[in-house]
Amino acid sequence: MPFIPHTSEDIKQMLATINVVNIQQLFDEIPKDLLTADLSSLPLGVTEMELMREMRECANQDAGLQCFIGAGAYEHHIPAAVWDIVGRGEFMTAYTPYQAEASQGTLQLLYEYQTMMARLMDLNVSNASLYDGASALAEAILMAVRIQRKHQSHRVLIPRTLHPYYRQVIHAIVSQQNIELIEIAFNEKTGRTDQKALAAFDKQEITALVIPQPNFFGVIEEVDLLTDWAKTQNAIAVAVVNPLAMALLKPPGQWGKTGVDIACGEGQPLGVPLSSGGPYYGFLTCKKEHVRQLPGRIIGRTVDAEGKQGFVLTLQAREQHIRRAKATSNICTNQGLLVTASTIYMSLLGPEGLRQVALASHHQLRLLKEKVAQLADVKILFSSPCFHECVLQFKTPVKKILQALATYRIQGGFNLQPVYPELGECLLVCVTETKTSEDLEQFVRRLREAVSAVREVCV
């Protein structure tokens, strides 16, 4: 019996202790007509060896591709030590640290994580993580609404340069609570949020402004202007950032004259593998004055009965298991294991290492842009500086170009056509420190071939 250790002698003794004749009798309080589960459509069990072989073949179908897709999930080198330690059973198979004295490892690690994330964002406090970047932004917006609870109605401004899936997620989550999400257009030359579009809301009651950095196009937004605009409106400024980029770019706590109120985002770039989209984690940091509106688990440092340092879950009075219907959110789970990976990753890379990874990614993207600029029929769409992604525009269908690249085992990027039809045939390409100059040469060569192959077919 897989993972059930009972011997027949054990079972006999246990049934005798309970005073029943068989296991079926233990279900005698359940109405008979409900005991109808039928698993006959499911496969029979297999051994680990058999399944490992089957799954190796299954996984191999999708292995061995060069990846130039970013769009919210990024391939970075992850030091071997990170997942070796994360894979330790003591981290992997522990539960939420309800018994603090028996969970000091996880709790201290989370406290160290909170410190690192607050420092990376240059804000005062951080929670212990949320599900992913998009749901963290939804929670940040709900937080802004709680901070602005005196507002008559809740209008939140969302740039169209924000990740289209983030826009879908926040819509699914916050629209349940009568919050209006208003889209702000971008400048088609720069790829940045349009200041003029924002000016239409001057002097109106706005609950929050969301500010992505870099934005979905990889473009670096004018975050100081956006933050200052939000603050003059008395709107909560919510940054949604790539945490790795913040080792290179100005962190949200320093944007504008005051810094933002809340910064959140996707933690995946910091030591979490692509893994088909998850599990990742969302981070959420804020200024000290908003700490009681922060959702999710928060770790605090305290002392034990002998005055020795220790760590506990704190501010639990905000949470669902205490406040029930009045809680700040329904969140119970965080993404502790992924935060474990990120904390080890940030420790290994250190301040300089993290900056170098960000810088290398940026540098390699610039190299790619230089090479692509020489191709016929490919245009680099926006004029603004980018972090490690950029938008390429074609005259022929991107879908076909991606298919052509796929024959060379290259994943060429994310097709923007379905989500930004107004841009025509555009591709979002990402380069990280994992790509060598040879990789970039190869990519550009294959792209040239793909473009001309598709052009011939289309003509």
Binding site: M55, H77, G89, E101, T106, P279, S347
Partner: protein, 483 residues
Amino acid sequence: MTQLIFELSQQHRRAASQIPAANYDCSDIPAEFLRKTLPRLPEVSELDVVRHFTQLSQRNFSIDTHFYPLGSCTMKYNPRGVHRMAMLEGFLQHHPLSLEVHSQGFMACAYELQEMLKAVTGMRAVSLTPMAGAQGEFAGVAMIRAYHRARADHARDEILVPDAAHGTNPASAVQCGFKVREIATGSDGNMDIDALRAAVGPHTAGIMLTNPSTLGVFEQKIREMSKIIHAAGGLLYYDGANLNAILGKVRPGDMGFDVMHINLHKTFATPHGGGGPGGGPVAVGERLVPFLPVPMVQKTADGFRWLTETDCPETIGRLSTFMGNAGIILRAYFYARLLGREGLHRVAEFATLNANYLLAKLTAAGFTPAYVTRRASHEFIITLKNEAKTFHITALDVAKRLLDYGFHAPTMYFPLLIPECLLIEPTETESKQTLDAFADVLIKIMQEAKTNPALLQTAPHTLPVKRLDDVKAARELDLVYIQ
């Protein structure tokens, strides 16, 4: 005391083999957009990091190291092989936005899990995307809301929950814009049917229940309750937190539930990771199929494809950036494959055997079950209210003393309506010998309560820290390290 990693930091120390070495330049980015000073992360060597975090890991209890009978959390063994398979390169390096042609491996696993979950729940369709039980609840309640709205039935603004429900139930209902009304539990542990009848009406959107309930007993009148709710025009939500108790025995669909979530990190043995990741797929009956969250996986003659908003125009939408906790979905699938239909069938049987055995042993030793006349499901509650009065100890003291003996404590003070309670869930993967040892220790602790209650009141004594000051933590907030 283990130092903080920041205290190990030495200026200019680094793990050089992890740092891209070349001289890169970012002169194309105007200075106003650049960070001026480096973030104050630790400056340590690779060995410092490995040693520090390995030492931290040793300050944790976990399933791999300790019996962890945390009620309502189903802390069963997380098979190592499953983890290894999820870390195969083709799964691990796979980008969520890869073309479908480059995603067939992951999609095949996800599709098959969808089918398996349909079979074990007796539901019509499954979406795997919710990232934890609470997000599954949110999705389920949002679907209930969408269903009523689609019928232009706008008066339904209330969700019913039993007073013993998990705290996430009312919190999720409120996040979906509903009012919450609590229904009392009767003295036998079943819901008070008369109170339920009195509560329903044209304002009832639905009810959230788990069965077996959080009280560790099977809600016997579930069919009648489902008739009452459906007759009033409401829908039934099944909180899958306790699915381990009925896996392969009873299907929520057959009990009359319209929508439910499944906690993959409980019933399907995916690792809890110190508080996550979880996994909270939702399963629905016929009426709610159009509203399921996207994406889902569809099987076609040409292979697997994603179902998105375009295919499902009435969907409640997308709840995660990509495909939820995909790696957890894989692990749950591998676990289900290893067990197969014969193994899945045994889960509830042996979880129930273990719970009833431990309950019988503890009852024989003089402990007080919360519901004397009832069978335990996969978990049960003992109340220490008599011991608390007699020996001036609390359930918390007993829990902390258990830690000294190398057992993780059961869930304490939940459900709220049972005083001084411990909610104990052994799971099917623990042996009789472990349960015997646990029972012996609880009996021993009760002896200590008689002879030396201070031993309990000041426990734990053998862990890296003594009892921690929660009040100070909340009053004098210290959430980040200030150097």
